[in-house]
Amino acid sequence: MARALSSMLLKGFRSMEYSRTTASASGSFLQQRMRFSSSVPNDSDTHDDFKPTNKLENSEITLKDIVEQDIKDNHVMLYMKGDPEQPRCGFSSLAVRVLSEYRVPIHSRNILEDPELKNAVKAFSMWPTFPQVFINGEFIGGSDIILNMHQNGELKEKLKTSSSE
């Protein structure tokens, strides 16, 4: 069951750096998502075992926090339809193709698998459509903007500035 819940969080997230270990920073992050999941009323899948036991219990962890964590942790964060290996929309596919040109790690989440996350991302960026690209925590735009910035050289400059300090 715990595995089911954590896979719910990891579902759609593509990254080389994330693992299923619960001891790491991303582990506490998992629990945040679990708390969110288990707060759904009348969910027959919930169980006392999954009540949060850490001090985050009373904090208001939202999907917005997950988005903020995503874009903070990942130099290039892409919210898309499908995943980079198999995009489910031409625009998402375009964004992946453009970003792949730069040979940088691309972290992504498949918003088709999580309508709540989808809405949270839209609200966060105040942007109506997907894909959505964040670089160094900054919302860059959708596929039109990415393509445009690729063509005029701005994307190269954006990606150059490393998030590591």
């Binding site: 625009f91 942007w127 459509t129 919302f139 860059i140 735009g141």
Partner: protein
């Protein structure tokens, strides 16, 4: 149902008084997908992201029924003229 090309055009015309506007229905007629080229003085001094936000905002009502809006060009008249000069082979609308 879907949104018409004319609805998209009139929303954009009233908001931006564009000197050039081209809306193409890329949905094959069902009105769910459009490609937009727009040139307006109102984009002066605005970053690309802000310009896209302005266009998205102007079409907020229509966006509810549009699945895909591709804004291929969102330019100031100056930028547009420069592009036209450098790409004379491109068909002028």
């Amino acid at each position: 149902m879907g949104v018409t090309k004319e609805q998209v055009e009139s929303a954009l015309r009233s908001k931006f008084s564009p000197s050039h506007l081209e809306v193409v229905d890329t949905s094959g007629g069902c009105g769910a997908s459009f490609k937009v080229e727009i040139v307006s003085e109102q984009f002066e001094g605005k970053r690309l992201l802000e310009r896209h936000r302005m266009v998205n905002g102007a079409l907020a009502d229509e966006m509810k029924d549009i699945h895909a809006l591709s804004i291929t060009k969102v330019l100031t008249p100056d930028q547009w003229n420069k592009q036209q000069q450098s790409q004379t082979s491109q068909p002028v609308a």
